[in-house]
Amino acid sequence: MLGFFIKRLGLVVPAFIGVTVLTFALIHLIPGDPVLMLAGERGIDPERYARLRAELGLDQPLVVQYWNYISGVLQGDLGNSIVTKKPVIDEFLTLFPATIELTICAIIFAVGVGLPAGMLAAVNRGKTLDHAVMATSLTGYSMPIFWWGLLLIILFSVTLGWTPVSGRISVMFWIEPITGFLLIDTILQGNWDAFWSAVHHLVLPAIVLGTIPLAVIARMTRSAMLEVLREDYVRTARAKGVSPKRVIMVHALRNALIPVITVIGLQVGVLLAGAILTETIFSWPGIGKWLVESINRRDYPAIQGGIMLVATVIIMVNLLVDVLYGVVNPRIRHQR
């Protein structure tokens, strides 16, 4: 297991190099200039422009800039935001809990609905319920996030008035960050009104963000389940007199979970990508919204640092999935 772990970590290095090269190259391909963006509409005199560029190191060749950046990263320094002058890592860590909170709730929603839906579809294969689940999940999978989010806002926030349109919590509340997760912080401070406000704000974005993973999980669960239900050991369980419910919930599900867990792990990347759109639509003060704003301001260090940290998270989650895999599947756990 340890050797396996180290091997996986070794693969992380080229992945990181790839991510930094790619983001660096892409950012410099976008037309625009952070100094001009900072100057705003009034413009800037050429002398001051040149000085600012030199200050930011933007006058040097790209290769040198990349080298400067990488050597900083290797020393744990992601640089300072051009706009706010604060260290990128600090900004990231302040905003990250909001994204994590949203993503975790989206995963809970996706797994909580997708897994049972896929199981029900598999057990009722070929019947109306199966077709309904599969059609719905195909629709969910094909739905563009921004459009789906807007539809839900129009229905639930504007027409029905059940949920707020945007934000993370009502402006009436000020919650001192302890963990950074509003749902936890409000409970820790015993402020139930604030907790419910946070829940209200969270529901729609979590549903929007979780829709595509939900569809993927439901379809994967269904096909894994159908395959497992044909296995000899399922027949053995039935021959033992195990009730149909227990056959599905215990004997089949455990085996069907193996591919489903892999898919859930892969969905984390999709979720963080989706968070960029979802946070923008719902003005959710997380990493996604911050990245979009940084791109608009051509805030190079913030974009590079942000994307690298997000990539780190995705890589970590996939490592975690590999470990979980072993927990569910004894054949992997016992490989030496």
């Binding site: 000899d232 053995t236 021959a239 007199g241 195990v242 569910v328």
Partner: protein, 327 residues
């Protein structure tokens, strides 16, 4: 009263309007302590009929029978809940593929104890002890440690021993063994067969032994049912069937045994294959492959002729010399 009494059982798959009959009018009785062998080629309906007896034919398969009694209880009339109480405890089954018949995600001990838990309850420690005893009973060394082993850590022969232990967990009165040795090494086959027969005799279980190994049947069974294309073609006692087969198919099966070809260059075979869903012939199902078939065989399907345990489905049954009796 026989332990298992099945009359005219039919198992159908596919469309109701044009079904495929995997089992066609099977009648089978097994007495307490008796071993009944079911033989036939692959595709002759042996496994499906045993699954139907266990109540394991899943939708869209349809099982019908004039009578399906186990120890005087009507299996068709009882609720599925009540029937589940019988399956795994009073009637148990072991399968052809031991390696895939155990759940890879659970330990061997867990899987044996589950059978005990479902049917007998009892405490955890007691179940553990029983499971250990069962593993010892089926000849697994160091049973205490083996309880925590996963199926992938065991060989095929070991797995089949575990399957046997699991089937015997609740002291069944009837054991259905569906080709229990087919997937195993030849050297292991004899061990497993000996183990099964020992346990059958010790416990006085009724046993249905499905196999295409006629040598095993000759050694182990009291009575034999020969199946072809879902139908029973001949039944009888072991000596009678082996000495004087009445049905040409039984004769051909026996002739194909390697020991009956000693001194010849080639094994004797019956050309062709068992008809499937779409190529069932009119008349006697065997006639395209039968060396003795007449016009009558092509036109009409024979019934089961004969009395008592001796039945055959042939218009021109073979005489004691093995020649057809055309009159």
């Amino acid at each position: 009263m026989p332990l298992l009494d099945i009359q005219n059982m039919t198992v159908e798959f596919g469309e109701v309007s044009s079904p495929f009959r995997a089992v066609d009018g099977l009648s089978l009785t097994v007495n307490e302590g008796e071993v009944v062998g079911i033989v036939g080629e692959s595709g002759s309906g042996k496994s499906v009929s045993s699954l139907a007896t266990m109540g394991l034919v899943a939708y869209p398969g349809r099982v019908t029978a004039d009578r399906m009694h186990f120890a005087g209880q009507d299996l068709q009339a009882m609720s599925s809940r009540k029937r589940r109480k019988l399956t795994g405890s009073e009637i148990a089954m072991i399968f052809q593929e031991p390696m895939t018949s155990l759940n890879p995600c659970f330990t061997v001990g867990w899987q044996i104890m589950e059978a005990l838990k479902i049917h007998e309850g009892g405490g955890r420690a007691e179940r553990r002890e029983r499971a250990e005893d069962l593993l010892r009973l089926v000849g697994i060394p160091d049973p205490g440690r083996r309880l925590t082993a996963f199926p992938h850590q065991m060989s095929g022969g070991m797995s089949q021993r575990v399957m046997i232990a699991m089937a015997l967990a609740c002291n069944p009165r009837l054991l259905i063994a569906d080709e229990p040795t087919t997937a195993l090494d030849v050297t292991i086959q004899a061990q497993i067969m000996d183990l099964l027969l020992d346990l059958q005799q010790q416990r006085g279980m009724g046993m249905v032994l499905i196999t295409h190994d006629l040598a095993v049947v000759a050694e182990a069974a009291h009575r034999v049912v020969v199946m072809y294309a879902g139908q029973v073609v001949e039944t009888g006692t072991v000596p009678e069937i082996f000495e004087h087969p009445r049905h040409p198919y039984t004769q051909a099966l026996l002739a194909s045994l390697p020991e009956n070809s000693v001194g010849r260059n080639r094994l004797q075979t019956l050309p062709g294959v068992v008809p499937g869903a779409y190529d069932r012939p009119h008349g006697c199902l065997l006639h395209p492959r039968c060396p003795y078939s007449q016009r009558h065989c092509r036109e009409e399907q024979p019934q089961l002729f004969g009395e008592g345990p001796f039945r055959h489905r042939c218009f021109y049954p073979l005489d004691d010399e093995g020649n057809p009796t055309y009159d």
